[in-house]
């Protein structure tokens, strides 16, 4: 049963990112895992071992696609060749939803391979939402946009990040992949209250959550994904889960990757908070699955 009106995948539970160092363990040991998140770009190829591994994984597990290069916020039009490859992968994986970031990263067809922060203006929100709609219509799959961690803000911004996120997803009628670690990192870097952020987004649109580790420096925090999740992030996650209901959750661990079991055990800590959310309240009436048409 969906926990909120935009989340039809409450049974997805706790997933982890599919990463190369774990391939052998997963394929040989077949550990019990609720689902794997794959980085779409790693499998947007025409053949070879990546697709072989993906097919083997899909025989045993549920897979959800997460992208890092769609750049909804780039002024460039969507690249046709890119979309075509992505759609081929969507058909292959039958991903129930697809996520990518609310950011920009390319201009004039030149790619930075970074997730650059958006200028939070009404004009960019409108343009970005239109692009998300176009891409969703082409791919024919529900889209969740993820908030990024950031280290810079623009003078031209006209609103807070969470107001911008809300404006975009309402205009695009899409879901949110709420990354609570990114909220924490950005809150520290830009001096806002992370709870204001979580309280301020449309909870009924949160279709997935991310948790991850970060690294503190003297003057800023970097989103490094190379540590266990820190306590303040788990607390934020607990708060978000209470507001959004039980939500498909994923642990990101991308650098200094430890054993599969260590990563999985870290991810499973999220269950403690999900249980809390289940007890806290039930928000199921009038629910519709992610991407389903409005009544």
């Amino acid at each position: 049963m969906p926990a909120n009106s935009f989340n039809g995948f409450t049974d997805y539970g706790i997933g982890i990112g599919l990463r190369v160092p774990h391939y052998a363990h997963i394929l040989e040991q077949k550990p019990v895992v609720d689902w794997f998140e794959i980085i779409s770009e790693n499998f947007m190829v025409d053949g070879g071992r990546p697709l072989q591994v993906l097919d083997q994984i899909m025989e045993q597990y549920r897979v959800v696609q997460h992208g890092v290069s769609m750049y909804f916020g780039s002024a460039d039009k969507p690249d046709r060749a890119h979309l075509k490859k992505l759609k081929a992968l969507v058909k292959r994986t039958k991903t129930p939803w697809l996520s990518d970031h609310l950011c920009w990263g390319s201009v004039d067809g030149t790619y930075t391979h970074d997730l650059l922060p958006m200028p939070y203006t009404f004009a960019t929100a409108k343009r970005t939402a239109e692009k998300i709609r176009q891409i969703r219509d082409y791919l024919e799959v529900p889209i969740c946009v993820e908030n990024v961690s950031s280290y810079a803000e623009y003078h031209v911004s006209e609103m807070t990040e969470w107001e911008f996120l809300s404006e975009v997803v309402e205009r695009a009628d899409c879901g949110i992949l709420l990354d609570v670690n990114n909220i924490y990192v950005s809150a520290k870097n830009h001096d806002f209250n992370p709870y204001d952020y979580i309280n301020g987004v449309p909870h009924h649109r949160v279709g997935q959550m991310h948790v991850a580790g970060h690294t503190k420096f003297e003057k800023y925090i970097l989103d490094t994904h190379d540590h266990p999740v820190l306590d303040p992030v788990w607390k934020l996650y607990a708060h978000a889960t209470k507001l959004c209901g039980v939500t498909a959750t994923l642990l990101e661990w991308d650098d200094k990757i430890p054993s599969f079991d260590e990563v999985h055990n870290e991810a499973l800590k999220a269950n403690e908070f999900i249980d809390g959310a289940k007890k806290a309240k039930s928000v199921t009436s009038g629910a519709r699955p992610l991407g389903a048409p409005r009544p």
Partner: protein, 323 residues
């Protein structure tokens, strides 16, 4: 020449080379984002900042491309906070851009690194990505124009440019062999009854045929073996580690070799070819008829040799029907 009044003058100095594919940045950051053009100008400006090479101390360059202090340019569009100036905030992104791309190039080119040494390799890659920033959504294609760049600007690899170029071509061929498409392999039934003069085949997209002036296949294998030993030694005692660190892979001497870089059951392989076999495969790849391709192998090639080669290529699945 002075720009016409009211026209936005690019900040880029005339004569200075722009990164290929990236249009000149605006002279100033837009004060408001109303039109798509405003967004493009802001994104173009920030991208130019990011792709600027780092200083020797891995910092953002203190001067902008029009000669103004970078502090001034950064403050035009980035907010400072009580810990970091606008310049320092942009510097974080500038560093992350270069560290990410250098890491990727480092991993994809162990042979080229061994030829040039780490310092020279890094200088080459900085120059390459400054001229040719990425034009693909995937980092997989980052090296696609490296061979072209080495040909255009041999000063970065001199005096070993020929070897560096051979290794670069070989390492890019491995990227292609790893994940390019595999088409249905040709069966004998498909070609039965078709005259050789009409039969046109093609090679699997994952195959690269390389005519090289150095035996870089054996060289790169030796470099990779040494790197594995180094990794294993990092878990062993210090003495063993030091011994392995010393092990140097000698640069190969000039020798003409013909190599096919391919994959079999999703593993990478390199196969040495005789020159006539190479020429026949090259002709097949170029779309010549089978009759023309066999002729390209030369008059001295015996029919039984050609038969043996084709049998091996069919078994490896290298040949496909050209539609």
């Amino acid at each position: 020449m002075k720009p016409a009044k009211g026209k936005k003058r690019p900040a880029h100095r005339p004569g200075a080379a722009l990164p290929i594919g990236l249009k000149a940045p605006p002279k100033h950051a837009p004060r408001k984002l109303v039109t798509t053009g405003d967004v493009v100008r802001l994104q173009r400006l920030m991208t130019h900042v990011l792709v600027r090479p780092l200083t020797k101390s891995d910092g953002l360059q203190p001067k902008w491309i029009d000669g103004r202090p970078m502090e001034e340019v950064a403050a035009e569009f980035i907010k400072p906070n009580d810990r970091l100036s606008a310049f320092e905030r942009l510097q974080l992104y500038n560093r992350m851009y270069w560290f990410r791309l250098l890491d990727n190039m480092h991993d994809d080119n162990p042979g080229l690194r061994a030829v040039l040494g780490d310092k020279k390799f890094t200088r080459l890659i900085e120059a390459y990505l400054t001229k040719y920033p990425s034009r693909s959504f995937t980092l997989r294609n980052l090296c696609s124009r490296l061979g072209q760049f080495i040909r255009e600007e041999p000063r970065w690899t001199a005096p070993v440019t020929a070897l560096a170029l051979a290794v670069t071509r070989f390492e890019w061929a491995q990227t292609l062999a790893f994940d390019e498409a595999q088409l249905p392999r040709l069966t004998t039934a498909e070609i039965a009854g078709t005259p050789l003069a009409r039969l046109r085949l093609r090679l699997q997209p994952y195959i690269s045929l390389l005519a090289l002036d150095f035996p870089v296949d054996t060289y790169v294998i030796a470099v990779k073996r040494r790197n594995v030993l180094r990794t294993e030694a990092s878990n062993a005692v210090d003495v063993a580690r030091a011994a392995v660190r010393q092990k140097h892979v000698a640069r190969p001497r000039r020798e003409r070799v013909y190599v096919a870089v391919h994959r079999l059951e999703n593993r990478l392989y390199y196969k040495r070819l005789e020159r006539p076999a190479f020429l026949i495969l090259e002709s097949i790849g170029a779309g010549k008829s089978l009759e023309q391709a066999v002729a390209a192998g030369g008059a001295k090639v015996k029919p039984e040799q050609v038969g043996g080669w084709f049998a091996a290529w069919m078994e490896l699945g290298w040949l496909c029907r050209r539609k």
